[in-house]
Structures are given as structure tokens and as C-alpha cells.
């Protein structure tokens, strides 16, 4: 990832000497900063994102060359002694450089990039995942060939090398489903159902975000994406289809006493109307509150008592009067749900 960014910046630096110092600073800090790149279009792990990354680089190089050329041309034009260019040759400059040149370049660009828009071919045995964008979290359902539905939330695991067909919907406002390293974004629009077909190529842990402004916590609506080896993925899916581990402690009771099960399903423990995220295997997830907080007892307990602190506008009610011990116990229960 770093190397591409550097190439990108270096070319930019060559382009414009006035910005050179700035660019050097930018390169240095991005090296020192060690950007994680889990949410970057430069660190690709899917076929579409990789194709787009290459296209980006080609266009950036072309853009840099054109800008250098224009800069040189302007300097030349300003310095040229008067009368060097007569009317006829002036017309020729406009015709060739202003009209014909761009027309040719744009034709090449258009004809070569339109086919990139074609959707990957889909087959019946592709993995089907339905994702629902809601204020401000993601409901995820794996639709298995035997009609079985495996529900989870705020985390998407996909196998590498296999085509995945996402069906994207939203019950409330417009969201946009974007995993920068995997493919471009597709909007989730109430009343409509959109599809995104992807294929991951490289295992790893990445991040997706909501890209369309959707309200107060738009900035806090992300999710973890884990691309896995096919065998590991198959095993994970079998586990995910299972009900929650049998835990029977005070936490489970408190979860019920405070009415958490009114909105959150924990398969095998509680069945709720699907208002809040499914928490069946919550303990095995990588983050809390749609990619916002780490999974830890303290973070979970704080979130339960005041969700709006981390996520303004979240629909989950605050449990400010809940004693801290109770919140800790519920949090511990949730972390046991592997």
C-alpha cells in the first residue's frame, strides 16, 4: 500500500514544483504515521478494487503529465514575444490542443473503461449475503442454499476466491455500503434492492463504512470485514449457524431483566423482534457498536449505560440508572457469547 501511495505522491511532486516541499512533508509523515490501510482503496483485497486501483494510477500519471504540459505551455505562452503566433496558427493551437487532442484522449479513456463497469458473472452456487443498512448499524444475513439463514451484525466474513453476491437494502434512510479494499460502493435505498458482486483475493482483516450521509452518527457506522481462506470460512459459517454457547449466569438474567432481549436476539437464549443487532456470537466479534469501540467489558458497560456518548442519535435507549456492576455483568455475559 505504502509504495503505491508514494508513487502517487512522487508523481504529484514532479508535477508542481511549488508544492514540492509540502509533498515531501506529506510523504514523510505518511511513512512515519504508518497508516493502517484497513479502509483504503490503495490496500486492495478484491478483484474490482484492484482493477480500479490500477486505473487510478494510470489516470493519475496521465493527469500529472497533462498538468506538466499545460504548465510548460502557459509559461511559454506568457514569455513568447508578441506576434510569434499569428491568427491562423492560433486557431490551429485551439483546434488541435483544445479540441482534437482531448477528444481523442477521452475516447480512448471511455472505450477502455466502460467494460470495467460490467458486473462479475454470478452463479447459483455463489455465496448470497443480504445486508441491511440501518441507523447506525448493519444487519447481515447469510442466505444458504438450503434456505437456512444465518444472522449476524456489524461484521462480514467472506471466503477468498469465491464470488459473493450482496443484496443491499435499507428500511429507514439512504446508506451506502462501501468496503474500499474490496470494491466500489453501492447505495442502500429504502424501497429498492441493489446488488454488489465481489470476489476477495487476499485474506485479512479490513474495514467497511457507510458512505452516504445518514444522520447524526453517520461517522460512527462502520463494520469489520474478514476475508478468510475457504476452509476456515466454511467452518466459521457452520459455527455461526449454531445457537449461542450455553452460559447460564447472572448476566443472562440481567439481560432479560433490563429488557435487552426486547430488541436483541441471542439465538438459543432469547428471540426478539429484529430492532437491534443480533448478538448471538457477539463475543467473537472484533468491535462494538458498528466498528466504533473495542470489545472490552468497560467499553460495553459504558455503551449500555450511555450509547449516545459514542454514537449520537443511536436508537438504543440509555440505561443511565443502571448500576455500574450490573452493566459489567451484562458485558461479561455478552463477551462469553462466542
Amino acid at each position: 500500500m505504502q509504495s503505491h501511495l508514494i508513487k502517487f505522491l512522487v508523481k504529484r511532486a514532479v508535477r508542481d514544483a511549488a508544492l514540492l516541499p509540502l509533498t515531501i512533508v506529506a510523504i514523510t509523515v505518511s511513512l512515519l504515521g504508518g497508516c493502517a490501510g484497513v479502509q483504503s482503496t490503495f490496500s486492495t483485497f478484491g478483484v474490482e478494487a484492484e482493477a480500479t486501483r490500477k486505473l487510478t494510477l494510470v489516470m493519475v500519471v496521465a493527469g500529472v503529465l497533462i498538468t506538466i504540459g499545460m504548465g510548460w505551455f502557459v509559461v511559454h505562452a506568457v514569455r513568447a514575444p508578441p506576434g510569434r503566433l499569428n491568427h491562423t496558427s492560433g486557431m490551429r493551437v485551439i483546434l488541435w490542443l483544445g479540441a482534437i487532442g482531448p477528444a481523442v484522449l477521452l475516447t480512448v479513456l471511455l472505450v477502455s473503461t466502460l467494460p470495467m463497469m460490467k458486473t462479475l458473472p454470478v452463479n447459483d452456487d455463489d455465496l448470497e449475503i443480504a445486508v441491511d443498512g440501518k441507523q447506525f448499524w448493519w444487519g447481515v444475513r447469510y442466505l444458504l442454499p438450503d434456505k437456512q439463514v444465518v444472522e449476524t451484525a456489524n461484521e462480514i466474513r467472506i471466503p477468498i476466491g469465491r464470488t459473493v453476491n450482496f443484496t443491499l437494502t435499507s428500511p429507514d434512510v439512504i446508506h451506502s455500503f462501501w468496503i474500499p479494499g474490496l470494491a466500489g460502493k453501492v447505495d442502500m435505498i429504502p424501497g429498492r434492492s441493489n446488488n454488489l458482486v465481489v470476489r476477495a483475493t487476499k485474506a485479512g482483516t479490513y474495514r467497511g463504512v457507510c458512505a452516504e450521509f445518514c444522520g447524526l452518527s453517520h461517522a460512527r457506522m462502520a463494520f469489520d470485514v474478514i476475508a478468510m481462506q475457504p476452509a476456515a470460512f466454511d467452518q466459521w459459517l457452520i459455527d455461526a449457524a449454531e445457537p449461542a454457547t450455553a452460559v447460564d449466569g447472572p448476566g443472562r438474567q440481567l439481560f432479560e431483566d433490563y429488557g435487552c432481549n426486547g430488541c436483541h436476539t441471542v439465538r438459543g437464549h432469547f428471540t426478539a423482534s429484529p430492532i437491534g443487532p443480533d448478538l448471538t456470537h457477539f463475543g467473537s466479534r472484533l468491535s462494538l457498536a458498528a466498528g466504533t469501540l473495542p470489545i472490552s467489558v468497560a467499553a460495553i458497560a459504558n455503551f449500555i449505560r450511555n450509547p449516545a456518548m459514542a454514537k449520537p442519535g443511536a436508537l438504543m435507549p440509555a440505561f443511565e440508572s443502571m448500576p455500574a456492576e450490573d452493566a459489567d455483568v451484562i458485558a461479561a455475559y455478552l463477551m462469553e457469547l462466542k
Binding site: 505551455f73 502557459v74 510569434r84 485551439i94 435505498i189
Partner: protein, 847 residues
């Protein structure tokens, strides 16, 4: 007209000239007094207020941006809350677009266009004043909402359902819709004025091939406004009907579709970009020849670029919707059009470069801003070509890459040229040059600050930073880039502060010479001895750069040796000429200072503001007051019968003082207004067929409240309105033949028929008991019926007004402008009744 006509001899006598000047001064004297000075309507006064107000709006919106950047300087910052942040970016974007960019172009054009065309004022000075007061009222209303924590917070494109659901968005959404709708109406008013100004108020001899390029650009932009703003106004109507009355246009659960808003918004929104960009390029087209010391090379190429961009910009809107899941082939069409539009843009840039190449370049501060703008704009244009490629846009869309792209385009393509224009035109209005030194310091601060601020955003966007986030996590590697962006933004602001300092120091500087840049176009006729009359006489123009090309031109104008050097009847007079060849047609008299435009803006503005607060009774009262004021304004200020039929204008030419029909500016204004109105109507029709397209069954299966109006009432309405239309035409014809009584009877019949038509068109959905809150089908049928009914009601008012004018002797056989103008209105009314009848009455039978 003949250009060989000799100069009137009396102009050689200084005493004669002094007497003429005295009369001109009296006719064009500005009103005085603490309050009455604000009733001025002259373009030089209104233009200055307009420009300063728009500049103030830019500073305000800029401060909002500085708060945004302060919030984003470090990750997880809590300087402002998420709610405040959402208001800040929504207001920043909305204000920069609606309260700065578009009004600024209109303001500058009102200010300089008459000078550029060697005329004394705009064709409808009171309309300019009305536009200004509307802008001020609406602008303060929208901008002020932030102080009450009530600003709109849905992003500047206000996507429903986030913004239509009252539980997710407060009164801010109404303020946005209603406040800005009001300003959009004012923008259309200004566009009408600019079109008529360019087409009909050019000086004799200024044929289309001699028109200053600025005028070409303004013509194109004003026409674009006519077609771009009405779809947004139609969208605003649907939007507010959903918010206020729960008509489900964008509610998917009841058959609505949020995407219709996106279509209507971006049919406006993309041309909008060019509406902002072209006027600034127009300033370029004035500045470059002056400092290249030669004619602009490739004049027809620039016209190609302006007209071509104007058209093509209407075929791009879906590139803002590449991620909404439309079929790839549809995206392909828009991707292709988005690429093509780069060609005219490249053409104009190379025309400027070729001009500099061919000329003798005099380096100057305005040119420095021009060069800087070009550098920034080229990068913005290239990233524009990139985002027009759909696969790239799927990544870049809604990220900081787009934020960077749009700021490169708008600051490079609009703000920097405007600053260049400020340095260039400042001496024209103050007779003092701004400081070259401060200008250059400001330029470099802005240029460096801009690039430091916005260039990193390209990278942060591609590194996964979505736009409109009030904060970002520490771990995704965006910290340094955001820090840089914030530093750059404050540097840029410092540059703007230096410009303001420069402006403040200006009164202390010494007077500059006349035409300090030694430019060749008409606006530089302006002399340091400030007079309110605009130009001493309307010149005869023989070249694109008369001051350069025609020896003695300035002196001849100063000595009143061309047209209209006098104001014998103490009237404000302009020359009206033909569209293609600027042959003199008429001397038009325009309105002087008046309080009516201000009153009209205040009463009409109140309607919008009161509706925001659901005070419907007060809004209705205010609406009636507005109607009364406007009728009073029209009755006393338009279609005035002159005391004599014609007058000599100099050079042995005699022109009529009155004209009606297509020869008059009023007829053109009506025609142009109705073109905009018809565009809004067609946008609603588009809405109907959009719903038909997305639904398998439209109209939906019959059940109570959903059954259409049938064919009887819509057909009856059509017949009645068509009868009213025919009777209005009959009134025009009989009146022209001197059968005045017959004309009055025809007008009465027309009013009755049209009024009955209004009721009949409403009777359809009313008697069918269509319930507009149930489903989008009844809602859209109701909207179309109401649209026609309201227009028919306005038509009745016009017919009765014309009848009253005839009875009062203010309209006669010869002086028949009123009836000719309302016939134009009724053509459009009949057409919309026909379309509505077919769509709501007969179309459901076909499908």
C-alpha cells in the same frame, strides 16, 4: 439604420452639452434620505448592494468551514457536537451555492453588464431591486437559522427520507426548502433580466459577432438558470408537500421513491456547477485580452465552448448517482456525456493561452489570479474526468476525494477568477486601484493555503475517509492529512483577510487614471467623475474592442455624439435593438426609484417564512398583500402610454417610444418567464412518469381513495381553459382592429371560462375522493391538478387586469402590450392544461 448619419451639430457647443448633462443628471438622480436611498433601483446601486451582500454571505459560509476544519484537526475531536457539525457543513455548502455563487454572478452581471453594453441600466431595474431584496430576506432567514440551532442538517443536497421524516430532521429542512425556493425565484427573475438585457439592450451596431464575450457567457448562463432551477423548484414543492401535508412523494412505503428527488436535484445540481463556473470564465475572457494587449483569439471557439457547455451540462446529472444501482448502460450514457463536456472546457482554456501567446503580455495582479485559478482549475478538471469514469467514481463517490475535486473546480473555476475580477474591476467603481503588493501577498497565501488544504483530501478520500463525517478514528491513518487540510484552510482564510484589508485601505489611496488597465471594451468608458446615468450617450459600436480600434471613440461618447445624449422629458431611457444585428427599434422608458419592489419582496418573502412556521392564515394574508403590491407595481409602472409616439435619438434617427409584442422587452420577459414555468411543470410530469416506470402497476389497483379522476372533469377543464385561451386571443385581435367593446367582452368571457376551468380541473380528483396521503398516485394527480388550477387562477387575474387597463384607458388599440403579453401566458396555460388532461385523464386508460 445607417451608420453614415452625420453627427448632430449642436454637440459641438459646450453649453448645449452642459444642459444635456444637467437634464440627464436630474432624470437619473438617486433618491436621498436615510430610508429612501434604499428605494434606488439603478443597476449601479443595486449591483453594489447585491455584490457586497453576496460577498458577506461568502465570508459567513467561510467561517463555518473554518469551524468544520477545526473540528477535524485531530481524530475524535469534540469541539462541536455531531448535530452542530451537520448543520455547519449543510449550511456551508448550501450558502456557498445558493447565497454566494449564483447571487454573486447575478450581482456582478447587474453591476457591469449595462456598462459593458453601453446602456444606462438593466431593462427592468425594479425587477433587479426586487431580486436583491428577495435575496437579502431569504439569505438572512436561511443563514440566521444557525444561531437558533435550527439550521438545515441534511447535507446540501437534502436527500430524503432522512430530510423528509420529521423525527429525523427538524425545522431546518423547511427553512432550507422554503428559504432557498424564494431565492431561486429571485434568481430566475435576475436571469430573465439578463437575457433580455443581452438580447435587446445592446448598443446600435453591436451585432452578435461583436458582443463582448462576457455577454455571451451571461446569456448562456441565464438560459441555463431558466432550465436548471425549475426542476429544483418542482422538487421543493413535492418535498414540502411531504413534510407539511404528508403526501408520500419520497416515502417508499406508500409508493414514493427517494430517487426522484435525486433526479430532480441533480438535473438542477449539475448545470449549477457550470452556472457558477462560466461567469467566472467570462471574467477571464475580459481580463486576458486586456493584459495580452490584443483581441481574444478564437472568438467563435469561445462561443462554441459557452453554448456547448451550457447544453452538455444538462446531460450529466446521473454522474452524481453512479452508486444508486441504476443499470450500467444508463450510467454509461452519463459517463460519456461527462467526458464530452471536458472538450469545450479545454477549448476555452487553450483559446486563452493562445491569446496570451500571440499578444504582448503585461503582467498584473488580475492576471496573476487568473494564472493561479487556471492551475487549480486544471487539476479540478482532470479529477473531474476521473470521477466521470464510473468504476473510479464507485470508489471516490461521497469521499473526501470528491470534496477535494469540487473545491478545486469551484475555487479554481469561480472564487479565484472572482478575486481576479475584483482587482480588475475595483477601479471601475471606486476609481482607485487596489494594492498590487497586498494583492500578491493575498494571492500567494490563498494559493498555497488552498493547495495545502485541499490537495491532501484527494489522498484522504482514497484512503477511505467518507465526506460529512463529524469525526474519524485514530487508527485509519488520516490524522496527518487532516491536520494539513486544516492548516491550509486557515492559510487560505488569512489570504482572504488580506484582501479585505486591501479593500478597507482603498478609500485612503489616490485616484487612478481613467481606464487604468488600458482596456478596449465599453465598460471602461466610465469616467472618474461619477455620474448615475451610466454612459453619457449610447454609442455606435463598430468593433469588438471599440476603445482600442476606433479613434476618438471615448471623446465622441463623452461629448454625446452618439445616441440618446439627452433626457428632454426627464425620463430614464434605454435603447432597445434587434436580437441579431442590434438595429435600433425603440426607446424604452424604465422605472425610477420605488418602494414597490422592496414591499413586494417583503410580502412575498413573508409567505415563505410564515409557511415554515405553519402559520398558514398569516401566510395567506401575506400572499394577498404581495398580490396587491405586485398589481399596484404593474399598474403604475408598466405599459405606460407615452406623451408622444416617437422621438429623435441623435444621428437623424427617430424611434418609437412604445412597442408591444415580440418587439418589446416585456413580451420577451413574459415568454422567458413562462419557459421557466413550463420547465417546472414538465418536471412534475417527469415525476408522474417516473412513478409509472418504477411501479409494475401505476395507477395502483383500484381501492377507495386511489381511483383516478376519470376523463370527464379533466376534459371539461381542458375545454374551458382552451375556450379562455381562444377568447384571450380574440380579445387581442379585436382590440388591434379597434373593436374595443368586443375585446372587453372577449376578455370577460375568457376570465369566466378560465376560472371555471380552474374549478373543473380540481373537481376531478375532488369528486373521485382521491386521498393524497394514501399513496403517491393520488398525490401526484393532485399536484398536477392544483398546478393547472393555480395557473388558471393567475390567468384570470391577468385577464381581469387587462380588462381593467382597457376600461381605465391605460390600454388602447395601439398601446396594447398588456393583452399581447397575457396571450403568451395563456398559450402556456393551454398547453399545460392539455398535457395534464391527457396524463391524469387518458393515460391511465392506455396502460
Amino acid at each position: 439604420m445607417s451608420s453614415t448619419a452625420t453627427t448632430n451639430p449642436d454637440q459641438d457647443d459646450p453649453a448645449v452639452r452642459a444642459a444635456q448633462e444637467e437634464r440627464l443628471r436630474a432624470a437619473w438622480a438617486p433618491p436621498r434620505g436615510f430610508f429612501f436611498r434604499w428605494t434606488d433601483v439603478n443597476n449601479s446601486a443595486v449591483g453594489v448592494w447585491y455584490t457586497l451582500t453576496a460577498f458577506g454571505m461568502m465570508l459567513f459560509a467561510g467561517v463555518l468551514a473554518l469551524i468544520i476544519r477545526a473540528q477535524l484537526v485531530i481524530p475524535n475531536n469534540d469541539l462541536v457536537s455531531a448535530s452542530t457539525f451537520n448543520q455547519l457543513f449543510t449550511l456551508h455548502g448550501s450558502m456557498m451555492m445558493f447565497l454566494f455563487a449564483v447571487p454573486m454572478f447575478e450581482a456582478v452581471s447587474i453591476l457591469i453588464l449595462p456598462q459593458l453594453l453601453g446602456t444606462r441600466d438593466m431593462p427592468f431595474p425594479r425587477l433587479s431591486a426586487f431580486g436583491y431584496w428577495s435575496f437579502l430576506i431569504g439569505g438572512v432567514f436561511v443563514a440566521g437559522s444557525i444561531f437558533f440551532n435550527a439550521a438545515p442538517d441534511g447535507g446540501w443536497f437534502m436527500y430524503p427520507p432522512l430530510t423528509t421524516d420529521p423525527s429525523l430532521s427538524g425545522i431546518g429542512a423547511d427553512i432550507w426548502m422554503l428559504g432557498l425556493s424564494f431565492i431561486e425565484v429571485a434568481a430566475i427573475a435576475a436571469a430573465i433580466e439578463l437575457i433580455v438585457g443581452v438580447l435587446k439592450c445592446r448598443p446600435p451596431g453591436m451585432r452578435l459577432n461583436l458582443m463582448p464575450l462576457y455577454a455571451w457567457y451571461i446569456l448562456v448562463v441565464a438560459v441555463m438558470i431558466l432550465f436548471a432551477f425549475p426542476p429544483l423548484i418542482a422538487g421543493d414543492i413535492l418535498f414540502e408537500l411531504e413534510r407539511l401535508l404528508d403526501w408520500p412523494f419520497f416515502d417508499a412505503a406508500r409508493g414514493g421513491d427517494p430517487l426522484l428527488w435525486q433526479h430532480l436535484f441533480w438535473i438542477f445540481g449539475h448545470p449549477e456547477v457550470y452556472i457558477i463556473f462560466l461567469p467566472s470564465i467570462a471574467l477571464f475572457a475580459m481580463i486576458v485580452p486586456t493584459f495580452a494587449r490584443r483581441h481574444l483569439l478564437g472568438y467563435p471557439w469561445i462561443v462554441l465552448a459557452a453554448v456547448g457547455t451550457g447544453f452538455l451540462s444538462f446531460g450529466l446529472w446521473v454522474h452524481h448517482m453512479f452508486t444508486t444501482g441504476l443499470p450500467n448502460i444508463s450510467l454509461g450514457f452519463f459517463s460519456a456525456a461527462s467526458e464530452v463536456v471536458a472538450i469545450p472546457t479545454a477549448v476555452q482554456i487553450f483559446a486563452f493561452i493562445a491569446t496570451l501567446w500571440a499578444g504582448r503580455v503585461v503582467w498584473s495582479t488580475p492576471l496573476l489570479y487568473g494564472a493561479g485559478a487556471l492551475a487549480i482549475f486544471v487539476i479540478g478538471g482532470l479529477t473531474g474526468v476521473m470521477v466521470a469514469i464510473a468504476p473510479f467514481d464507485w470508489q471516490a463517490h461521497d469521499t473526501y476525494f470528491i470534496v477535494a475535486h469540487l473545491h478545486y473546480v469551484l475555487i479554481g473555476g469561480s472564487v479565484m477568477p472572482l478575486f481576479g475580477g475584483l482587482y480588475y474591476y475595483w477601479p471601475l467603481y471606486t476609481d482607485k486601484k487596489l494594492s498590487d503588493r497586498l494583492g500578491r501577498i493575498a494571492f500567494w497565501l490563498m494559493f498555497v493555503g488552498f493547495n495545502v488544504g485541499f490537495f491532501p483530501m484527494h489522498i484522504s478520500g482514497l484512503m477511505g475517509m467518507p465526506r460529512r463525517v463529524y469525526t474519524y478514528s485514530d487508527e485509519i491513518g488520516l490524522n496527518t492529512l487532516n491536520l494539513l487540510s486544516t492548516v491550509g484552510a486557515y492559510l487560505f482564510a488569512l489570504g482572504v483577510a488580506v484582501v479585505i484589508l486591501d479593500l478597507c485601505l482603498s478609500p485612503r489611496r489616490k485616484l487612478a487614471e481613467r481606464n487604468p488597465w488600458k482596456a478596449g471594451t465599453l465598460e471602461w468608458l466610465s469616467s472618474p467623475k461619477k455620474e448615475n446615468w451610466g454612459v453619457r450617450c449610447v454609442p455606435l459600436v463598430e468593433s469588438r474592442y471599440p476603445i482600442w480600434d476606433e479613434p476618438g471613440f471615448v471623446q465622441n461618447v463623452d461629448e454625446g455624439r452618439h445616441f440618446l445624449p439627452d433626457a428632454e422629458e426627464n425620463q430614464r431611457e434605454l435603447m432597445i435593438t434587434t436580437v441579431l444585428d442590434a438595429e435600433p427599434l425603440q426607446v424604452a422608458r424604465v422605472g425610477g426609484p420605488s418602494i414597490k419592489p422592496m414591499l413586494a419582496a417583503a410580502t412575498l418573502g413573508s409567505v415563505f417564512i410564515l409557511i415554515t412556521f405553519h402559520l398558514y392564515a398569516a401566510a395567506l394574508a401575506s400572499g394577498l398583500a404581495a398580490l396587491v403590491v405586485i398589481l399596484w407595481w404593474l399598474w403604475t409602472g408598466t405599459g405606460i402610454i407615452p406623451e408622444k409616439a416617437e422621438k429623435p435619438v441623435g444621428r437623424s434617427i427617430v424611434l418609437p417610444l412604445y412597442s408591444s409584442g415580440p418587439a418589446s422587452s416585456g413580451w420577451w420577459a413574459m415568454f422567458i418567464t413562462m419557459t421557466a414555468d413550463a420547465t417546472a411543470f414538465l418536471s412534475l410530469i417527469f415525476g408522474y412518469f417516473f412513478y409509472w416506470t418504477v411501479h409494475a402497476e401505476f395507477p395502483p389497483a383500484a381501492q377507495p381513495g386511489l381511483v383516478g379522476p376519470g376523463t370527464y372533469w379533466p376534459t371539461l377543464a381542458l375545454v374551458l381553459i382552451a375556450a379562455g385561451w381562444a377568447a384571450t386571443i380574440a380579445a387581442r385581435e379585436t382590440n388591434a382592429r379597434g373593436r374595443i367593446r368586443l375585446a372587453r367582452i372577449a376578455l370577460s368571457v375568457a376570465a369566466i371560462a378560465t376560472g371555471a376551468g380552474a374549478l373543473a380541473v380540481l373537481a376531478g380528483p375532488w369528486l373521485a375522493e382521491l386521498d393524497p396521503t394514501l399513496h403517491v398516485y393520488p398525490a401526484i394527480v393532485w399536484v398536477l391538478a392544483i398546478w393547472v388550477a393555480v395557473h388558471a387562477a393567475l390567468g384570470v387575474i391577468m385577464q381581469l387586469y387587462t380588462l381593467a387597463r382597457s376600461l381605465a384607458g391605460r390600454m388602447t388599440r395601439v398601446y396594447d402590450g398588456d393583452v399581447r403579453n397575457i396571450v403568451v401566458y395563456h398559450h402556456f396555460l393551454a398547453l399545460s392544461a392539455l398535457i395534464t388532461c391527457i396524463v391524469i385523464g387518458y393515460f391511465p386508460r392506455l396502460v
